[in-house]
Amino acid sequence: MSFLRDRKNISILLVLIVFNLILISLQVYLEEAENFIEKVSFSIFAAVKHGFSSLMKGISRFWENYFDLWHAKKKNREMNKEITRLRHENILLKNSLKEFRDIEEIKKDLIQFHNHILLARIISLDFSNLYKSAIIDKGTMDGIEKNMAVCDKYGHLLGRVIEPISLKEARIQLITDNLCAVGIYTENSMVYGILKGKGNGMCFLDHILTTEKSISLGETVTTSGYDGIYPQGIRVGSIISMEESSSLFQKVEVRPYFNFNRLDMVVVLKKNDQ
């Protein structure tokens, strides 16, 4: 009897293992297409996290408001949001001015830009490696789409929206993920290249020739817009080390500007059709 029971148990275990292996293999077959089971489990449990996160936020706000002058707090929150919007407008203005466009054009852009900013909150970080991804509290109902760029509240690049996206939650791939790549240029030396994540909270510049000597330590790295995902002119990080190697390329390490410990409010840059 015990033998039969063990055989039945092993058979069911094998079925479960094969089921998981099929799920793993499907990703190779479907590439970036959505996995239905992943989408369902994400929608259900991201909603649980979202709900609890909102509840905690609500309780902490209530607590603060109870002791503080809550009108002042509310005003402060609104102003913080406004500051974040203004920072992004400022970035756009600077970029537009760089291109020597006339003021009317800039104004037109500015009005459009205001409608293309969406404030969101981080509700969870990656369960397996916290430098890979995060979940935000905005989804398809708020107009979130795949590949929208995401910045922190200071306007530094954080990552992009990837799937799955549910009604009120979406996942973002952080620039520190080892599978992430961003088109960039260095601000002073104007060297164009690709920034990749290292998976440990840092990034590096890929394919920078050893003959390239103009890059300097501390230089700011900014998005070039050539990747077609991240808009041009978003500050990404600064160069913290450069090492020559025996190969054709040098190792240039970049520390992202965004701070993991202060990830709360983020800005999603909704896609501009123009």
Partner: protein
């Protein structure tokens, strides 16, 4: 009876997810140090046996995968094996003492990390240990909390199947 167990496990999963969310608010890297979903799988596998453990392991693993940008199904596979082995080993050896339950959970969590890392490396050629250092403390902290939970749950007759 099965429905009751399913509901109990469901509550366990939701509690684990809620506590994970709470820990994240305290410290951004807190979830690297402890795996509450693995603990739910091990506790229920010991209570209900290897089949229930394997099934619950698949569910918990896939939930964990849905919160991660990695390969969907790797945690499912690792936790399925963890759940099965937890149920199987607990039938074969006595894990009544806190020390024995500590060792069992420690070994299972280490095994789960190794299975996960192997498949992650096999598919992406990337190392799981690139992230924070918290993962090295995960087996220790999870097994300390787990053996403590074992003691409490035993007191409330959680492991006695009616």
């Amino acid at each position: 009876m099965r429905i009751r167990s399913g509901i109990g496990a469901g509550i366990g999963i939701i509690t684990a997810v809620v506590i994970h969310t709470f820990l994240e608010k305290i410290s951004i890297s807190a979830n690297e140090y402890i795996s509450l979903l693995s603990l739910v799988v091990i506790l229920y596998a010991v209570k209900k046996g290897e089949l229930f453990g394997a099934g619950l392991g698949t569910v918990c693993g896939l939930i964990q995968d849905s919160f991660s940008a990695g390969i969907y199904g790797i945690s499912g596979l690792a936790k399925t094996l963890t759940g099965f082995l937890a149920g199987y080993i607990s039938r074969k050896i006595n894990i009544n003492s806190p020390f024995r339950s500590f060792i069992l959970i420690f070994v299972l969590v280490v095994m789960e990390i190794l299975i996960w890392s192997f498949f992650y490396w096999f598919i992406t050629k990337g190392s799981f240990f690139r992230g924070g250092t918290g993962v090295f403390f995960r087996p220790l902290l999870t097994s300390i909390l787990g053996s403590f939970l074992f003691m409490i749950l035993k007191k409330y007759k959680f492991f006695i199947v009616p």
